[in-house]
Subunit: 187 residues, 2 copies
């Protein structure tokens, strides 16, 4: 089956600091014309970091579009061309003060591929030590540690609802079940 949609034209409707909004005229696989509303985003990174005690580092923060305080893994927006792992280390340090000695690629996550081009890079990590958190000025986050097994239950019960946080927590738990280690040679 042929699925590909081809672009006929693109029109920007909004260009912002975080996102751009575009409307494209396309051709469907059957040759019929259609329209696609597209959000552009430079991408994000998040880190599922485990302490030596088997806790995952999370942060509480207010999410304006939902007007809710959510519990999430440390995460941030990537600058254009930024190395995702470097971005992840920066966000982990800024939001929790955690320094990790070993990182493991947890793959990609497309949060909402129907209309948004964002890709989130995910990493697992083992914390070696803590320094003071260094939040961005005007960033209000509160770090918390949650035992990984409890975090899994908080996903299953619906208490943790952020997408990347659910994916990171459940991926870490399933990988640990399969005997994958998150310890680096430094331990």
């Amino acid at each position: 089956m042929e699925f590909i949609e081809t672009t006929v034209s693109q029109e920007y409707k909004f260009k912002g600091r975080v996102i751009n909004t575009r409307v494209d005229q396309i051709l469907l696989p059957n040759g019929k014309p259609a329209e696609r509303e597209v959000i552009e985003h430079t991408g994000g990174v998040c880190v599922g970091a485990l302490t030596k005690e088997g806790e995952i580092l999370l942060v509480r923060q207010f999410r304006y579009p939902h007007r809710k305080i959510l519990l999430e893994v440390p995460a941030g927006k990537l600058e254009k061309g930024e190395d995702p792992l470097e971005g992840g280390k920066r966000e982990l340090l800024e939001e929790t003060g955690g320094v990790a000695v070993s990182y493991r690629d947890l793959g990609l996550m497309l949060p909402t591929p129907g209309y948004c081009g964002e890709t989130i890079y995910m990493y697992g990590a083992k914390i070696s030590h803590f320094t003071a958190p260094r939040p961005d000025q005007d960033e209000f986050v509160e770090p918390v540690k949650v035992p990984l097994e409890q975090a899994v239950q908080m996903c299953l019960s619906g208490e943790i609802i952020d997408a990347k946080t659910q994916v990171c927590i459940m991926k870490l738990a399933l990988l640990l079940q399969q005997g994958v280690s998150f310890s680096g040679q430094e331990e």
Copy 2:
């Protein structure tokens, strides 16, 4: 710690069929002014449906913003005010032909809460029988069945990258491990 951000004003930059784009002037918790770019979306629903043989129903489809063919759980956009479970049943039937007799709430997922108001409602289900798929005109999807354990490995290996699909698959696997049943009384 006080986290709440308050709205000063809202300005629509784009109103579309799928999304609206808004820029809000806000006050941060420390009283300083700031700006928030916000995508409005009426919400979505997805269904992680298992066959009697323990396979999960997935669909292949082209995702224009990423120009990739992705493997995803059946899903769709909710109409304003639509009951999420009814929407889930409709999408499952349209995209795969699957009819489920029992549904289980798998909670909510916020795909990208930093800038987007979308909430995705997730359900688990057990398929009782199949009819012919009834895709929307101009919707190009190809249904496939994947054993759940294989689908879990495809999440862990990075082969399945859609957010809601990763969450549904891993949640089903972890709930089944905990002895939760997805069979209704009809079986």
